[in-house]
Amino acid sequence: MTGVSAVWISANWPSLLAAAGHARDQAKSASRKKVEFFTLEEAVEVEAISERILPSDDTPGAREAGVIYFIDRALVTFAKGQQQVVRDGLSSLQALTKSTFPKYASFSQASAAEQDQILHRLEKQSSDGAGGFAIGPTGQSFFGTIHWLTVAGFLVDPDTRGNPSGVGWKLIGREREHSFQAPFGYYDKDYSGWQPAPAPKNGGGR
């Protein structure tokens, strides 16, 4: 990381933090400004990746869900086995950025479209690939790890360890409550009750 980009980061960091502060629990979010695993520079890069995975558009994305804090905490707790993968991956990401767009000193400086281009290349290089079924971060590539953690930080129960503003659940249409009464959706609202069907002719053998 060059001196120039470090200045850029320190200049931009407060706005990144502010973006995460839409939260219902603003105080809680503010108290978590400290990152444990990442340097601030690294956090900016990782947040830039997660922002491309779940971009902020007409609805909030990874940034508004404060996903970077979730990822940082994950890497010193349940995903600590992925620390080396992430450190190595960040180096590869910057090398890839410089070889693709020599004018940028770091991934986060590239435009959104350029970042997507870099990430597509990074994803192609990773063994777990597109559409891979992942049940957790363990054993995944750098991109796979950040991807899983981004999605998890966006969609984890907002009353627990992440997504304090609940924007992830709001996006997918998952109400915040944990207790519901029927009817639940479109198809069951006019259900007329279970009725027996005509008896089978063959007693079940087919």
Binding site: I53, P55, D57, T77, A130, G173, H178, Y187, R206
Partner: protein
């Protein structure tokens, strides 16, 4: 530290209690409850912690990534190989509940009775090549009263006689089915169009409150999670409290049994275990019952090898750990036009059993199964595995798909038989050790070709159903060899002949008079995919048998 709900007795390891039960899950909890109610002094040794409803959470990371409720792959590693000629590689192969209540705490609660055919299939269809299919020493009629006992005692909801394929029953369910979900409505619609017979899923989930337990609140965090309101009828919510209430049963958590100890005459004298601090103790008992599940029960017998039992305790047949059956399963996922909101509520809503007994002459393979309508994906699991194949994995379109599909997605789950194959087994890994220095579980498993044909067949029926139901889109993946185990069945099978079984119809090991085994390992056939109700019914029956034997001095 947990505050006990009830003051329970504390026995010393040196106290010779009537029964020590290894494991507190679906079988161990029921046995503890019944035997203590019958006047016996019981110690239950559970390797996991004693959690309560207050410890349960909807934090997907804590539950599914940090193994709040399950065996931890770092502490207790597993290895897997497909066939015995291969060297097993370390991977996560076996999943079970590791806490008081065992796997019943996080199960789906989909409770299907086995049918008559499941007990006598070998006689009915004859031998199946490459499988060691056998009849049970008991029949459906022997177990029927105990199925009814499960329904009434632990609490089940359902609608009796709603499936024309159901076996006879002596009583209706104690409470009505849970409200239908969107997935159930469209499933029912599709199945009816095809002339099939959908019925409300029978569930070990309360639709009406019981003392100390709430009816289901439809929170949606069901499969894989512990129930915070006690609506799921688990060993923890429905059996252990009754056992403790007798004042004769102590449930001792964090007690990891690694050996059954025998005396010079070859009788079991108790169970050797590590406590929380890895100190070793011998809990003495007149009789030992192992209900540690279909992976850990055979492992414990193999770990208990001695001069007298060089191939493992109670293993004169050589059957301990063999004939592992996992149940075949397939998932067909579908997207509908309008919101189902299936994240609200328990997992399965409607079932068909039209394919429970397939005719091998007609379909060209052995087996049978059922389909159910469900949505068992919590948000993170959904977003990382349940979008249509070929969907973008990240970016604006990915985000839009998540927003559109989450409320509109459901699954049809195919459940089916696994044939007992001798090579499929749980054994001790020769190289890998757990955190206590004990040999790790090694799983060897390759589904019988008929098992895979069956799942392909059922998945094709699921596809027909989803088309008939009006799904916008649906997909499934080809049936493949299973290298991860959830249902752990058949590894210490029951039978009359000591040469071809490990326990008799009373669950007594053929080789050691005062050693009994009762759990998924006892099953002779796999059933059609929902084993827990049968495990509980067997435990109720075993408790009656063992009580009679103990009271007449026959142990």
């Amino acid at each position: 530290m947990r505050i006990p709900r009830i003051a329970t007795p504390k026995y010393k390891p040196s106290d010779e209690v009537d029964f020590v039960i290894v494991g507190s899950g679906a079988a161990g909890g029921i046995l503890a409850k019944e035997l203590s109610a019958n006047g016996f002094r019981v110690v239950v040794l559970e390797q996991g912690p004693y959690l309560t409803e207050a410890d349960f959470t909807h934090d997907e990371v804590k539950v599914l990534q940090e193994d709040l409720l399950t065996n931890h792959p770092e502490l207790q590693p597993n290895t897997y190989r497909e066939t015995p000629d291969q060297t097993a590689k370390r991977q996560r192969a076996v999943f079970y509940g590791r806490l008081v209540g065992g796997t019943s705490v996080h199960f789906t609660a989909n409770f299907w009775r086995f049918h008559e055919i499941d007990f006598v299939e070998r006689s009915k269809i004859g031998p199946v090549p490459s499988a060691n299919l056998a009849d049970w020493p008991i029949t459906y009629a022997d177990l029927e009263p105990y199925y009814t006992k499960v329904e009434w005692d632990i609490g089940m909801s359902g609608l009796a006689d709603s499936s024309p394929f159901d076996p006879p029953r002596s009583k209706p369910y104690p409470m009505p089915p849970l409200p239908v979900k969107g997935c159930g409505v469209v499933f029912e619609r599709g199945a009816r169009k095809l002339g099939w017979h959908p019925f409300p899923a029978p569930l070990a989930i309360l639709s009406q409150p019981r003392p100390g337990r709430s009816a289901c609140v439809n929170c949606g965090f069901c499969l894989g999670f512990g129930c915070e309101v006690g609506a799921k009828s688990t060993s923890l919510s429905a059996a252990i409290p009754a056992a403790e209430k007798t004042g004769r049963c102590e449930v001792r958590p964090n007690s990891y049994v690694h050996k059954i100890e025998l005396d010079a005459k070859g009788r079991a004298i108790g169970a050797l275990y590590f406590d929380e601090k890895k100190a070793r103790h011998l809990q003495r008992a007149k009789t030992v019952i192992v209900s540690a599940n279909g992976a850990e029960t055979p492992r414990l017998l193999l770990l208990s090898a001695s001069k007298r039992h060089p191939d493992g305790l109670a293993n004169s047949s050589g059957y301990v750990g063999k004939h592992l059956m996992l149940n075949g399963n397939g998932v067909s996922t579908a997207v509908f036009e309008h919101p189902l909101n299936d994240y609200k509520g328990f997992a399965p809503s409607r079932v068909v059993h039209d394919f429970y007994e397939l005719d091998p002459q007609k379909v060209g393979f052995y087996g049978g199964g059922g389909l159910d309508a469900r949505f068992d994906m919590t948000p993170i699991g959904f977003a990382t595995g349940f979008l249509p194949p070929g969907s973008p994995r990240w970016g604006k379109e990915y985000k839009a798909l998540l927003a559109h599909n989450f409320t509109r997605t459901m699954e049809v789950f195919s459940h089916g038989t696994s044939l007992p194959v001798e090579n499929n087994s749980m054994s001790l890994d020769p190289d890998v050790k757990d955190a206590w220095g004990l040999p790790a579980l090694r799983m060897t498993y390759r589904d019988h070709p008929d098992d895979l044909k069956l799942i392909s067949y059922l998945d094709a029926r699921a596809g027909e159903l989803l088309d008939a139901a009006g799904a916008v889109k649906h997909w499934s993946f080809p049936a493949a060899v299973q290298n991860q185990a959830f249902h752990l069945l058949g590894t210490c099978r029951m039978g009359n002949d000591p040469k071809t079984s490990v326990i008799n119809a009373d669950h007594r090991t053929h080789d050691v008079k005062n050693l009994f085994l009762c759990d998924g390992s006892s099953l002779v056939t796999s059933g059609r995919g929902q084993p827990t109700m049968t495990i509980m019914a067997l435990a109720f029956r075993a408790a009656d048998r063992i009580t009679a034997l103990a009271k007449s001095g026959q142990i």
